[in-house]
Amino acid sequence: MIPRYQKFLFAILLVASLAMGVGLWQLRERAHQRMIAGENSAPTSAPEVAPAEQATLLVANDSDGSLLTQVHSLPLPADPGARARAVLGKLLDLYAAPDAAHAVPGGGSAVTQVFLLPAPEIGAGADAAVKPKSGGSSANPPAAPPQDAQETGPQLAVVNLTGGFAASHPSGIETETLTVLSICGTLHANLPRVTQVRFLVDGLERPTLAGHADLTRTYLTSDAAPSEGTHP
């Protein structure tokens, strides 16, 4: 025999559960309507065209293995990450041109993102191919750099390339090294705070670009010294 007070309690809890269910359903519907209302795809303001500026590109030349400095005028966004991507896009567009001295298919769309981070100290794991393995956590993680260093100190650029670009890149030590060094040199020429560069392909680490150039290490932009400059 179930006591009367337990029947009462059960009925109250049942009614409360149903009421809360109805309330949640209504809240969900309202949120959905708000989201649909916010997704108005009609342009509300004209797109801003960044002013054209002078960008310095280190362009590779396969015939003599050199990096030539070229100055191009192109629209550059104010945001440093977007700026870096725009400059590298122009560089890879030059390589994708039919008469390129360093022919690499792919073009500007091969650079998905460029992330700019405070550069770790040289010799503290950033330099020369030494990379902490996944799963191996450091007992003493490096302290965060002070605010001043973050705003004015050296930066590490992480360049995320597309898998298609890496797959279609010509294989060879010289051609791969020139691509990597020209990207490093171009980044430093336009963003002088960038002193170190790392590469990802489709967001993941990749052993080599096309079978030769090591992409697991951190490159120093000082390695990419230009040859004689030309101004088209």
Binding site: A128, A129, E174
Partner: protein, 228 residues
Amino acid sequence: MRWTQWTLAALVAGGLAGASVSAQPSPPAPQARFVVVLDAAHGGDDAGGRLNGGQLEKAYTLALSVRLRSLLAARGIQVVTTRESDATVEANKRAEIANHAQARACLSLHASQSGSGIHLFASSLAPAQPTRFAAWKTAQATSVTRSLALAGVLNSALLHAGMSVTLGRTTLPTLDSMTCPAVAVEISPERNTQQEISAGLDDKNYQARVAAALAAALVEWRGEAHQP
């Protein structure tokens, strides 16, 4: 006892005689072992680049390695190769073979359809002083200076053979883990001033010239290595 005294006297006399023998001018010590490691890049699952005519880089480098090994053996140079067939050999294994051989020179052989002439690459690691324990990925740092000297000798021999040469620094995992003087040699087609191919990678004469020049350079390097 008397027999003990005689025995002691005989031992002392023998010792003196032995000492006099060892004091005589000894014959010149044999020269240190001169071993060259030839690393035919790629192989097995790793085909490397695709060259003109459909040839794969792994096959080209293996053929060059075999040819160069024969030339060096004919000159009395001991050669260790990282592979003798179309087999997959990991980068670390290649460096292990070279380091165990305690080689005086290591050549990593590559081929590419892009560029012109012969490309010589030393590691881009900064030179470092030898330490008791070297990091695997940067073991080449202690030999970079010697590697650059070896690249210079190879450059001279190739130029002497009439080939165009490009010198550079690069980051190859195999090269960076070798402790010997190591240079990556990338063979590209010879091109004229209009960038037209004058000698392709499949040109037998070109292959023979390259191999002969590399062998001559290593013979010269052996002479330099044996100088006091």
